[in-house]
Symmetry: C2
Subunit: 149 residues, 2 copies
DNA sequence: AATGAAATATACTCCCT
DNA sequence: AGGGAGTATATTTCATT
């Protein structure tokens, strides 16, 4: 499906504030509220829009540390790890990747003791490398229309 | 501020569907719609809720590749890079981190030619390492209340 | 595919507890 | 801090173009 100019505008608005009403979106893009509702529903049905998520402050929830942890799985330990990782509440995102490491994870942790405990859970699955996040340079940047394509 | 049990429920609902109405949230947690609105507004004002974002499908928008790229900045090149990276549309997230590399980025790209162009832009700032994302094991996992804390 | 209109649902403001 | 009432606004459905 081709995303037309109006849908790109709608997606831009929903990326900046997903709780914006259809009526308000309509005022921004020059459509009536039912027209906006229909376009959004279609993009949801087509899987262009996967969902709407509140973005929370980790510190307020008691997570003072964020870390990026890579894992180079031991022989035969990748599948067990994949089953385990979905149960770990600390893991925000986890990707299988190419390269020397198989796995990269973004995790939140209460403090350094929590980090230590967390890493200890991983040692049976493979060799880990931990990078503490110092600051966010870019965070959840909205996706824009490519110039070409 | 302490997040009470009802606010944790509200945050859980908003993480799974940020476009849920206050009335529907109220039905789930046993509060009236104005009470829900007041609680949400307070959490927004306190910075517990940072925003509401539509989650989009990268493939549908013409981005077929996702990659994790680390950068080990050359002497004096970190600051210029930090100014540059905020202008790069391909970068979804970028963190300063501890360890051998200074920077880690999550980027989306149309294809391998686009990846090549993108990496070429970075070589003046430092040494890069690229990992192609093969699959998502965990994606945007909601933050839950810690057992302790 | 969008509009306009009617019915329903929701949100907002204010006052009360 | 939350409930309830009243008003304004939004959503949904449907007929029409």
């Amino acid at each position: 499906m081709k995303i037309d100019s109006i849908n790109w505008q709608i997606l831009g608005l929903l990326q900046s504030n997903a709780r914006m009403t259809n009526a308000e979106i309509g005022r921004n893009v020059g459509l009536s509220s039912p027209a906006v509702a229909e376009r959004i529903k279609k993009m949801e049905d087509l899987g262009i829009i996967n969902g709407y998520r509140a973005e929370l402050d980790f510190g307020s929830m008691g997570y003072q540390l964020k870390a990026i942890i890579t894992l180079r799985a031991f022989m035969g330990k990748l599948k067990p790890f994949l089953q385990k990782v979905v149960q770990l509440d600390e893991v925000l995102n986890c990707y299988r990747i190419t390269g020397n490491e198989n796995i990269i994870m973004e995790v939140v942790l209460a403090d350094q003791y929590h980090l230590e405990e967390f890493i200890d859970q991983l040692i049976t699955y493979g060799e880990t490398r931990t990078h503490i996040v110092l600051s966010n340079v870019v965070e959840n940047s909205p996706i824009r229309r490519k110039i070409k394509g």
